[in-house]
């Protein structure tokens, strides 16, 4: 026994983390598969209804004419129509009719492009100004929630989506409770101009 040396092995005082490591290593690939790095949302829209005309309820003569808010989009900007009582309170509607008869004269856009006469890219459209105008229309017609969009054939899809955002809610002038003010959330995309 004289030459036999005993070696004392000291137990490690560290916590054994290996089982937790195993668990975490299994969880990470699973969560990586289910992780979502981009968040998706949807925008509702419908086609214009085709069918039997509905019977219009008889209204008192004092009632305002119904709002048929329509926004045409071309490469020159946004053309808002159907809200002349707000946009042209001084009888602009009659002028429009005259302009329609006069084929040579073109009505200027309600919200023209920023800077140039022609919008070169989606950022050149005046979405904020359109939201402001729609806010004025909403003040006049608080119960209306529909808007019809008439985009030109060459208008990019991104512009239509941003236009729908501008029509849906006012993110500048908020409600007293801090939520965004709803404008015209029900968007109908019509055939549009060629």
């Amino acid at each position: 026994m004289a030459g036999f040396k005993t070696k004392r092995v000291e137990a490690s005082d560290e916590l054994d983390l290996v089982p937790i490591m195993n668990l975490v290593s299994i969880l990470i690939p699973f969560l990586l598969m289910a992780a979502q790095f981009v968040h998706l949302a949807v925008i509702d829209s419908t086609l214009p209804a085709i069918g039997e005309p509905k019977e219009v309820e008889e209204k008192d003569e004092d009632d305002k004419p119904p709002l048929v808010l329509t926004i045409a989009v071309t490469d020159k900007g946004f053309f808002v129509s159907g809200a002349d009582s707000v946009l042209n309170p001084d009888g602009g509607g009659d002028e429009d009719e005259d302009a329609g008869d006069d084929e040579g004269e073109e009505r200027p856009p309600t919200v023209p492009c920023k800077g140039n006469a022609v919008c070169a890219n989606p950022d050149a459209y005046g979405y904020e100004e359109l939201t402001r105008i729609l806010g004025l229309v909403k003040d006049e017609y608080p119960d209306d929630e529909n808007v019809i969009l008439l985009p030109e054939s060459r208008v990019q899809y991104e512009i239509i989506v941003r236009l729908m955002d501008a029509c849906r809610e006012d993110r500048v002038n908020k409600n007293p409770d801090g939520t965004f003010r709803d404008l015209f959330p029900f968007v109908v995309i019509a055939g549009g101009a060629k």
């Binding site: 005993t6 560290e14 990470i28 998706l40 239509i160 989506v161 955002d165 995309i189 549009g192």
Partner: protein, 177 residues
Amino acid sequence: MAGVKTPQRVIKEEALNITSMMDLMTIILVFLLKSYSTQDISIAGDADLQLPSSTSQQDPELAVNLVVSGRQIVVDGVPIIQLTKVPDEENPGKELVAVPEDEKKGQLIPTLFDKLTEKAESAKAIAEASGSSEHEFKGRILLQCDKKLPFSVIREVMYTAGQAQFGEFKFVVYKQE
């Protein structure tokens, strides 16, 4: 020297120090748990499909998935039509994406119409077999369109979908926080 005991060598077990790795793993785990999602839809990874961003906060729901990228139209993962590029008359030198002329009849795209009608019929059959209002066919369709697409293509796709009894469009967009 006989009585002097040589000191015993203390051998410490060499364990791998994994504490720092555990820290890292915990951070990754928390991040992944936060981004965990059980959303019904997924977007196809395609260089020609860049969805626009929107302030809409409405979550998507399960419906027929119609993808219109810069190259093709895909219904529920099955390519239906290859799109083409035509010269832009108003901007010489530039091109616009369009549905090939031989693939459409007026505004209608017959191949897409047949596929969507088939989807609508099968959805109705499922609804009838299940008998519950939860599976009722509502004509919902998820539209994933590339942000650079001209409206003419989207109009033809929407018109065709409308003819195939899909009237409730849900445009899929990236959510802006």
